[in-house]
Symmetry: C2
Subunit: 426 residues, 2 copies
């Protein structure tokens, strides 16, 4: 099921003014790189996993601002218990996910009582310095229970990154020796909050509405985004800009990979389903937790840092099926409810949306009309992937043909690859 259309009821009066000045920037200036790298070489080292590098990237560009590094225990506890941090001046900022760096016993021992630690990437290169470090216990069970509201086995982020991680957390202030790049042909999409704010200014946006996604864009999404723009114009904004903001970090294995999604999104703009003049497509570098109401706050907060003042939230944001029971892990309405009450996000304009579905009479995606419910077809993400995997076509008007072709090609290739290992191991 998919939901669309702006409901005016939750829109609040005040805008959050984009203010580049509040963003933490912990990337070392080029002039100091040499000396800092030399300094880092003499420090005890902690090895980063791929997921840790994604978080270094996120912190380094200010998405989690005012967080200046991996959380120390005081920040971690506030995040776990209050989904927010109280700053020294008394202001409260939203911070719903623990952004932490796990280390093992051996690394803890090698750090000893050192104040500063060099962070080494998966390929062995020095990426960053962590200053004034603090080491504290990584109680995985409690972290998982409080973040996901369940400890059932099968949570993707937990299985991949928390279960195998060390029993200690290493907090401190980050100094990143050079900007994080992936060299995957998509780095030009990875605009930092500062770059995004600059681009919004250049386009003279007077409203920025952000759309977080980790799936291909179909015409229901497009209907919603275009309708949101229409509503914002009606409200008096002259130049609302859409930030189409696919998540670029870790996603679970059966989600469509980033490169395929970016190609699909390009087609959607090429085919004119979304207007390139009023749309910015960029990649949000965060990994997915699939932690529903807890995570949707992070998704919104990070976009506020990038200058968005309207956030579109749908059914069951950042949700997934319960890993061991036949039901949604989260109540599909809790995400937008929790977001609308979240500490530190009081000024964000939240745009919940009505259900959209495939109208079998009009042969297009349309807002669901309960009076003729039998004429609507709900096409879930799973159903969409099944169509593409089986080489079947979805109903006309579900997705633009160029975008659909990208998906079909991806699943053809995937099936060919899946057939390979069997041959190789025979």
């Amino acid at each position: 099921m998919f939901q669309a259309s702006v409901s005016g009821t939750v829109i609040k009066s005040s805008l959050i003014e984009p203010d580049g000045g509040v963003l933490v920037d912990v990337i070392v200036p080029e002039s100091e790189r040499g000396s800092k790298t030399l300094e880092a070489e003499s420090m005890p080292k902690a090895r980063l996993a791929k997921i840790d590098v994604e978080w270094v990237h996120v912190i380094s560009e200010g998405w989690a601002s005012p967080l200046k590094g991996f959380m120390r225990e005081n920040e971690y506890l506030q995040s776990l218990h209050f989904n927010s941090l109280r700053m020294e001046n008394g202001t409260v900022v939203n911070m719903s996910l623990p952004i932490v760096l796990a280390i093992d016993d051996e690394t803890k021992k090698s750090i000893g009582s050192s104040k500063d630690v060099g962070l080494v990437g998966p390929e062995g290169d020095l990426l960053a310095i962590l200053r004034s470090v603090e080491i504290y216990k990584h109680n995985k069970e409690e972290r998982i229970a409080r973040t996901w509201g369940t400890t059932a086995p099968g949570l993707p982020y937990v299985e991949e990154f928390i279960a195998p991680a060390g029993n200690w957390l290493l907090g401190g202030d980050l100094e990143v020796l050079k900007p994080i790049k992936y060299n995957d042909g998509l780095d030009h999409y990875r605009l930092s909050p500062k770059q995004l704010r600059k681009e919004f200014d250049r386009r003279q946006a007077d409203a920025v509405f952000a759309f977080q996604l980790r799936n291909p864009v179909h015409n229901g999404h497009a209907l919603l985004m275009n309708d949101t723009r229409r509503r914002l114009l009606e409200m008096g904004y002259k130049n609302p800009i859409l930030l189409l903001h696919p998540l670029g970090g870790f996603t679970k294995a059966d989600d469509v990979p980033l490169d395929v999604r970016m190609e699909q999104h390009s087609k959607v703009l090429e085919d004119g389903v979304l207007d390139p003049e009023t749309t910015i497509v960029a990649v949000f570098p965060s990994p997915m937790h699939y932690a529903g109401p807890t995570e949707v706050q992070w998704h919104a907060k990070a976009r506020v840092n990038a200058g968005a003042n309207f956030y579109i939230v749908g059914r069951d944001p950042a949700g997934m099926g319960h890993p061991t029971e036949k039901r949604d892990l989260y109540d599909p309405d809790h995400g937008k409810k929790v977001l609308s009450m979240a500490p530190g996000l009081e000024k964000l304009n939240i745009l919940p949306f009505r259900v959209a579905a495939y109208d079998t009479v009009a042969k297009k995606m349309a807002f669901f009309d309960p009076s003729r419910s039998k004429e609507f077809l709900f096409i879930s993400g799973t159903k969409m992937r099944t169509y593409a995997r089986n080489g079947e076509n979805p109903p006309d008007g579900f997705m633009c043909p160029g975008g659909w072709e990208v998906l079909v090609k991806y699943y053809e290739q995937l099936q060919a690859e899946e057939a390979m290992p069997a041959v190789a191991s025979a």
Copy 2:
């Protein structure tokens, strides 16, 4: 292990002014009881379990103020995710435990779309009205995970009250038809926040320091409380009053029952270990969750509502052993850390304390001196109960003789009773 002695570092400058005016009072005036009871009789009914009556009691006297009844979903979600509620005027109040009323499918059906519900006690008598009710899902797993930070089997409150409870929660505003009484000979100890505030005024207290406990008072506790008073006098307060505030609601089976504890506390005052002139002993009607850092906020918040402005917090408050692993469920330091950062409790003065233990040389409870650690004996609650159960005496000076006698008598009687059923069933 037990901790004692005020550390001055966390004490904040501003006092919370006792202000009876902010307390919610949802007890129906005597003049309206007849008509309201008549009205309630025509409403659909929900049956209360014993634990629900304890919560009705708590809400009715304003311990959870500004909460006016059992939580509706918006309050429940804020409590689970943020441990606090944002009020309409923008102020944030602490609310760390979900205070909810579970109902089963049948009760939900019988309520239908009624706005008001009559609440019926375990003995079938009409106790209260719940107004403008809202029914929402009781996701037990999520509630447990977010409240306790674990879903391991064996949490006392969960096993006793959540596991067998219904799959729906019923929220609404409470009107209590008459004050809740237990007729157990201890009702005179159950002073409401209003009564306590009046008593503090009568005694012209200029500081009130609260001590939450669910165990017998030994001389280590007394040392701590007397030392706190000394420190407050040093800080310039003229008349600091101690609120010795044992918890009177549900406690787990192996805790010492309330009536025994009250008798023991009386002896401690009779024996002069605590000064009756500057001490008020009263019962806090809340049930125990054993939810550590989440619950300690509730324990402190409720005492603020009763006029306390200093709160003493020790090692692992409201904690217990992990139900399935050989470790404390919570990090023993998290309680005071979380409390010190809790939203809505910024103005509370938190008094953490140093470790106290039995000094085998001085033959009394004293602040632990690490330089002669071998001369100290740590007597845990479990060890204390083992002494009493086995009829052994703890070291001289551990507890006043009158208080100790109460415990020994209780365990003798318990063992006699435990022997009985075997005879009866033979």
